[in-house]
């Protein structure tokens, strides 16, 4: 049970990191849109965190898979697939020369991603609390554990 709690703690930290990284990218993009920042800085800042984000996301996803947590894994899987796809096609980095043309699309993409991360965040918190409660009470509250989450 302690492992379970650790896993969810780790997941909690990861999802926070993912949300933070995505939000950071979004902020950079909107700064660019309002001309608070030039495209060179904006794209280099964004590009600096793209790969770390992919890695955090990928590791989290695999850890769900390895611990047989199907539901969170399946939620994460499409994003992982999308990331891998982007990476393989070398389209994951923002192109500074075309950044203004792509601005709206990139923002939309990141907003969608952010909302997915938030929904995962809710699930993770729920499971985290659940496993903590289970561990603390140390009782057979197994019936509380829903099969889905």
């Amino acid at each position: 049970m302690a492992w379970e709690l650790l896993l969810w703690l780790y997941a909690f930290a990861s999802v926070i990191a993912l949300i933070a990284l995505t939000a950071y990218q979004l902020i950079n993009l909107s700064d660019l849109e309002f001309d608070y920042i030039n495209p060179y800085d904006s794209s280099s800042r964004i590009n600096a965190v793209v790969v770390p984000e992919f890695m955090v996301q990928g590791i989290l996803c695999t850890s769900f898979l390895l611990t047989w947590h199907w539901f969170p894994f399946l939620i994460m899987a499409p994003i992982t697939y999308y990331h891998v796809n982007l990476f393989m096609n070398r389209r994951h980095l923002i192109d500074v020369t075309e950044i203004f043309r792509l601005l709206n699309g990139e923002k939309k993409y990141r907003i969608i991603k952010l909302s997915i991360y938030f929904s995962i965040f809710v699930i993770v918190i729920y499971r985290l609390v659940m496993s903590a409660v289970l561990l603390l009470t140390d009782e057979g509250f197994g019936s509380l554990e829903s099969g889905i989450f």
Binding site: E33, P39, Y40, D95, F100
Partner: protein, 1035 residues
């Protein structure tokens, strides 16, 4: 009757009759419809009314009004019951827009009697006409009704301009006759013979029309009515009209009205006057006569008339909107299917005497709006006795600085307006004070990056490049501050130390490509005037230095990095001479584009985008450091222009592609273009921004530049050969202003080291009517913008998709136009388009056949396709249109006949193989190259004289350089070529000679470029028109 009364009053107040430019336009289309009505009986007003009402759109209404002119013609004898007809028209729909036009109700009665407008003799052919008309109707089915309808219509619109219209009309009627006779069934297409007939008529008509001052006719002239009834003017010619043929459809009856024809004519004739008349609809038959199709044989005609309406606007050579009428609402914009935007050519060359005035505000600083930063311009208004001025873009009230104060005269104008070009001219150049500099103005700087691998050696490049550079040294702009530097590379990088204390240049070789470093901190880039002798020495020995180089590798990527390190402090112009595929170090490229299988798949576009992100990143770095890159590519093999060109694309540069470079044949072209590149006036470290009034916004930009923020174009170097296009979007659903202002501001450093701001200001009206947008459309700007959109499209989609998208836009816009004017009348068998867009279908066709967009894999080598694409992205409108519809001239007579004849420039011919006569000699000129076509039966004397050798030996003409020989023919030909070249100094037109029947050269050089002909997989002009027509008709 009742409706009439009501409507009219309402209408009158609505608009001022004369003033609004918008009002006049659209009528023409309708005209066609109008006539229909007129023919019939005036008697059935009621039926007519429903008809009219059917047209829901305001725009349509407008058109109807316009159409009114046609009715005029008819008028003659028969006294119509005008009142009745009137009501019908007024009914509902028309009121809003056209209301002003309508004469008071009383008018109709009186005018009838009035003789038709000026020139036209009203003949009594009417009687005859009527019968004929009816005849056609019979086949249709319910003839009587239609007739009634038509009659009602004719009455409706007796607008101001009627008199002018009357003239055109008569012609149509005759046509009608012909048609009616021809088409018993109505469905049959007219025979070709007929169509031809028609064509001539149209031509003749214009003349008659011109006689009438259409616009001037006061609305009072009820004359239209008369005309209406009366008569049909006997058309001196068979009037059919317009460039378009007649249609053969069942709708014959309608066509009989003939008005469409008239409209066309008018359009052709009016050109300048057409403001009020508006667009002319054309009609097309199924058996279209190729000869009657519209062709831009006079090249681009700049929309000068805008200058007349808005004399304070900058000249259209600097700024052209795709339509000089901004839609007032999103919904209206949605119906304008063509791109809405502008083409800006900030440094366009101006003829002598029209130079842009330079203004120095001195200590007052440049006068700008506090809020939106707009520069002071002729459209600002001074108030409060001259102490304040109101910004025309954002309406903010600004203070006038004390130094700039001037009293106002009685009319509120500044007294010194004539002495201040910034208040009286649309284009001015301000001298910018130090606040506009982030660093001291940079000196002009040229850095040459020359590939010296074996392929460059083989084609004899160095000699020409070195000599050209040397000959230009004296003319480089910016003496004595000009800086210069050289770097050569193959598998290693060769730096050249040009320190002024040396007598001979030193070459320093760096072989480490992974970690580039500069062997010297400075002296790689030197002041030209200080080190002139060293530079001269280097250029002298350069050709021999690498004569025996057998190195096949080319390390372009590292060389670019090295050049960047040398130039990054100052910026400037980097000229890259690349003659093989970059093969070493970072940025190496691989052969691609040979894979046939990728064509037609979703991955096809990847061939046209840079393969390695290195080039884009490098381009971004270059722009950041104010470096502009020009690419000269020479290889006959694949060099991945798509990747190399992106360097030029994002740095405001240009791609010069001279495939299969051979010193003997290409040297003149390279010499000229390199010299022009080096010596033309260049604006350095510039940025450009276009401001526009409230409610509109430029959303996308197309051309060679890099966006530094959402609306700031960074242009490390820009010159007179580069134009930029941009698209507009509306920010609000409804525009509240009457006029939208645009201001282009280019801040740059001149070669002399002065910081300047070139400002172009323009105003455009906001309109609520689609017809007006069509009327004010500018085909040149539309095509320019459309081509850039299409080329960008090919970088993310298939070629086929890009072409279809263009066609779709064309068809949609024509369909929309058709809906404006035709739907209610069921005018089936005609293609209707506005006068302003008469060349649009042809240009779109030509665009689809252009090198950048044509066919598939086999139709153009990938490199040439990409190079053409890069070129089209920067072309100014005039050269773009020239490229799309090149000139074809028959010149053998000029050569043979006397000198006085040879000075006359010959007429431009239609681009079709039918124009080619085997007994003649032609020049094909697309602005980038000349092709001289020798007919098979041309006299051998002439051919031998021109070529300077005996043709009977079947020499290889592809290797032949056309030189001046010592005979009259050759000298005359050279004079003609020279004159043609002078027309377009921005490029050297390489001249190639091809003989008739010499395959495959003839096919690839000339025949495939005759865009009106059918070539593999593409349609001919006639087919294209039919295709477009059919698609625009299907809903």
């Amino acid at each position: 009757m009742q409706p009439m009364g009501n409507d009219k009053p309402a209408n009158v107040p609505g608009r001022p009759v004369l003033p609004s430019p918008a009002a006049p336009r659209p009528s023409t289309p309708f005209i066609s419809s109008g006539p229909v009505v007129g023919l019939g009986t005036s008697g059935v007003p009621q039926t007519a009314a429903p008809f009219l009402s059917s047209g829901p759109i305001t725009g349509m209404q407008m058109s109807n009004y316009r159409s009114s002119p046609p009715p005029i013609r008819y008028n003659g004898p028969s006294s119509p019951p005008p009142p009745t007809s009137y009501p019908g028209q007024d009914a509902t729909t028309y009121q809003q827009t056209q209301a002003p036009r309508f004469p008071p109700p009383a008018q109709p009665g009186t005018p009838l009697r009035v003789p038709p407008p000026v020139g036209l003799p009203v003949t009594p052919p009417m009687g005859s006409l009527h019968p004929q008309l009816q005849i056609p109707s019979v086949p249709m089915g319910p003839p009587p009704q239609t007739a009634a309808q038509s009659s009602s219509r004719s009455y409706m619109p007796p607008p101001v301009s009627e008199s002018s219209f009357s003239a055109p009309r008569p012609p149509p009627q005759p046509s009608l006759h012909g048609y009616s006779n021809m088409l018993p069934g109505g469905n049959m297409p007219p025979s070709p013979a007929e169509t031809q007939f028609l064509a001539p008529r149209s031509v003749s008509q214009p003349a008659s029309q011109q006689a009438f001052p259409a616009f001037h006719v006061p609305p009072v002239h009820a004359s239209p009515y008369h005309v209406h009834q009366g008569g049909v003017v006997p058309p001196p010619l068979p009037p059919l009209g317009g460039p378009l043929g007649y249609n053969s459809r069942g709708q014959m009856q309608y066509p009989s009205t003939g008005p469409p024809m008239g409209g066309n004519l008018q359009g052709l004739v009016e050109e300048f006057q057409s403001l009020s008349v508006g667009s002319a609809p054309g009609s097309l038959d199924h058996g279209v006569d190729a000869k009657s199709l519209p062709r831009p044989l006079n090249g681009d005609e700049e929309p000068i008339k805008i200058q007349e309406t808005y004399p304070l606007n900058c000249h259209p050579r600097f700024f052209r909107l795709t339509t000089h009428a901004i839609p007032s609402s999103q919904s209206l914009l949605a119906r304008w299917h063509l791109p809405l935007g502008a083409v800006v050519h900030p440094l366009a060359e101006v003829p002598d005497g029209e130079e842009v005035p330079i203004v120095n505000f001195g200590p007052a600083g440049v006068i700008r709006c506090r809020r939106c930063r707009t520069y002071v311009n002729p459209y600002v208004t001074f108030m409060d006795a001259g102490r304040k001025w109101r910004c025309n873009l954002c309406s903010l009230l600004n203070d006038v600085p004390g130094e700039y104060y001037c009293a106002l005269d009685a009319s509120g104008r500044r007294c010194d307006i004539d002495q201040r070009p910034e208040l009286s001219k649309g284009s001015v150049e301000f001298v910018a004070p130090t606040e506009y500099m982030v660093r001291p103005p940079m000196p002009p700087l040229y850095f040459f990056l020359i590939d010296v691998s074996i392929s460059a050696v083989r084609c004899g490049l160095f000699e020409i490049v070195a000599k050209t550079i040397k000959s230009c040294l004296d003319e480089l702009p910016g003496f004595p501050r000009t800086q210069i530097g050289f770097l050569t590379f193959d598998s290693t990088l060769h730096f050249h130390n040009l320190k002024s204390s040396l007598t001979q240049p030193q070459m320093l070789v760096v072989a480490d490509l992974d970690d580039i470093f500069l062997p010297l901190p400075d002296d790689l880039l030197v002041n030209l005037s200080d080190s002139r002798h060293v530079v001269d020495a280097l250029l002298d020995i350069l050709p021999s230095m690498f004569q025996d180089n057998a190195n096949v590798e080319s390390a372009l990527g590292p060389a670019l990095k090295a050049a960047f390190m040398v130039m990054s402090q100052l910026g400037g112009k980097l000229l890259v001479f690349q003659s093989t595929l970059p093969s070493l170090g970072v940025g190496r490229l691989r052969l691609r584009g040979d894979d046939l299988r990728i064509y037609g798949t979703d991955k096809e576009h990847t061939l046209r985008v840079p393969e390695d992100p290195f080039y884009k990143q490098m381009a971004a770095e270059f722009t950041k450091n104010q470096i502009s890159v020009d690419i000269y590519a020479f290889s006959e093999k694949y060099t991945d222009i798509a990747s190399l060109g992106s360097l030029a694309k994002y740095t405001g540069g240009q791609v010069y592609h001279l495939p299969s470079f051979q010193a003997a044949t290409h040297q003149e072209k390279l010499r000229y273009e390199l010299a022009r590149d080096l010596t033309r006036e260049t604006a350095w470290e510039s940025v450009m921004r276009i401001r526009c009034g409230k409610g509109v916004r430029f959303s996308t930009y197309h051309g060679h530049f890099m966006l530094r923020s959402t609306d700031l174009l960074a242009l490390p170097a820009v010159d007179c050969d580069k134009a930029f296009a941009m698209q507009l979007s509306l920010e609000d659903t409804l525009m509240t202003t009457q006029i939208v202002y645009f201001q282009v501001a280019l801040l740059y450093t001149s070669s002399s080291g002065e910081r300047r701001i070139r400002v172009h200001t323009a105003a455009a009206p906001v309109v609520a009517d689609l017809g007006e947008m069509y009327h004010q459309a500018d085909t040149g700007a539309i095509i320019s913008l459309l081509s850039r959109l299409a080329i960008e499209n090919t970088q993310s989609h298939k070629l086929e998709d890009a072409r279809q998208l263009m066609q779709l836009k064309l068809v949609k816009s024509l369909k929309e136009y058709r809906n404006l004017y035709v739907m209610q009348h069921r005018l089936g068998g005609r293609l209707i388009f506005p006068e302003s867009l008469k060349f649009l279908p042809l240009y779109v066709l030509s665009l689809c056949k252009s090198v950048a967009l044509r066919g598939g894999y086999a139709d153009a080598p990938l490199d040439e396709r990409c190079a053409a694409g890069y070129n089209m992205m920067i072309l100014p409108i005039r050269r773009m249109l020239k490229l799309l519809y090149p000139g074809l001239y028959k010149i053998d007579e000029n050569l043979i006949k006397g000198p006085e004849y040879s000075e006359k420039s010959s007429k431009q011919l239609a681009l079709s193989a039918q124009s080619l006569d085997p007994r003649a000699l032609y020049i094909y000129d697309d602005g980038f190259s000349f092709i001289i076509w020798l007919g098979r039966m041309l006299s051998p004397d002439l051919v031998n004289g021109i070529l300077g050798l005996d043709v009977s030996g079947f020499p290889d003409l592809s290797k032949l350089a056309l030189l001046e020989h010592d005979n009259e023919y050759s000298r005359k030909l050279m004079r003609i070529l020279k004159r043609l070249r002078e027309k377009d100094p921005s490029c050297f037109q390489l001249c190639r000679v091809v003989r008739q029947g010499e395959q495959p050269r003839e096919g690839s050089l000339l025949l495939s470029n005759l865009i009106e002909d059918q070539t593999a997989g593409t349609s001919s002009y006639v087919d294209w028109i039919l295709q477009v027509y059919r698609q625009s008709q299907s809903s």
